[in-house]
């Protein structure tokens, strides 16, 4: 799957990174606690979250993630957008709730990668 597929499947708005939509992604994770992302995520390239603050971008950057999907209709503030642009991270917004957004992507072939902690 590539990021363009995520945009289509989640009917997502592209906030930034429209030049990187062909990037291939192999796994994803969903979390609202960045502590959990830092503790348990390994080699996932997409983060789905309902949290909207600049530390979401920084956390994704530390984990070498390439795409963030804000779920539940959350919108990024100006600083978050600027940071995502600076880090080359694709930032998307979807009205889907976390459970359905993850389910749609999983059903369409985007797995969870390593699932055991």
């Amino acid at each position: 799957m590539n990021i363009k597929d995520i945009v289509r499947l989640l009917d997502a708005d592209i906030i930034c990174g429209s030049d990187r939509l062909e990037t291939e992604v192999k796994s994803a994770c969903g979390a609202d606690m960045m502590s959990d992302v830092l503790a348990f995520v390994k080699d996932q390239s997409v983060l789905l979250t309902g949290l909207s603050n600049p530390q979401v971008i920084r956390t994704a950057e530390m984990m070498d993630m390439v795409c963030i999907v804000l779920v539940r209709g959350k919108r990024p503030d100006a600083m978050m957008q600027e940071l995502a642009r600076a880090k080359g991270i694709v930032l998307l917004c979807s009205r889907h709730r976390m459970y359905s957004a993850c389910g749609i992507l999983y059903k369409n072939g985007l797995g969870a990668g390593e699932t055991c902690v």
């Binding site: 606690m33 502590s35 830092l38 503790a39 603050n53 530390q55 920084r58 950057e61 530390m62 600083m79």
Partner: protein, 142 residues
């Protein structure tokens, strides 16, 4: 024989600005990339330092970060003059946290920071005195 002089970096972490927390870790990650370190090792350094930096901002009003980059390892020393940790053994347990709900609402404070620093580093040392501050020293092989 004397050990090779490290590349030394120092950052003052601003405790009053949550939005800018992590800038020092970002800068270190970039520097390690420029040097050409293995990406998996860079990630371990970045996560360890970022966790410590976030802790400094959320719990201690900022602090100082000292980074020494050697050919074989990276040494991180993160020092603050915050409230200190009363019970280090308890603080090292996964899931234990003294964070207020206001911190949790920012996506942190799940009690994973210190255990995570230990998990990602090859050597981990935590010293703390209540009322005086906390110092975390980590060594990560690269």
């Amino acid at each position: 024989m004397t050990e090779m002089q490290p590349v030394r970096l120092h950052f003052t972490v601003d405790g009053g600005n949550f939005a800018s927390a992590g800038m020092a870790s970002e800068a270190v990650k970039l520097r390690l990339k420029q040097i050409g370190i293995d990406p998996a090792a860079i990630r371990r350094v970045a996560i360890s330092m970022y966790e410590a930096e976030i802790n400094m901002v959320l719990h201690a009003g900022g602090g100082e970060a000292y980074i020494d980059i050697y050919p074989t390892h990276v040494c991180l020393k993160m020092s603050d003059t915050g409230p200190g940790i009363d019970n280090i053994e308890l603080a090292m347990q996964e899931g234990y946290s003294t964070a207020a709900d206001s911190i949790r609402s920012l996506g942190f404070g799940a009690g994973m920071g210190l255990p995570n620093m230990k998990k990602y580093s090859d050597r981990f040392e935590l010293t703390s005195e209540v009322g005086k501050g906390t110092t975390v020293k980590m060594r990560i092989n690269i």
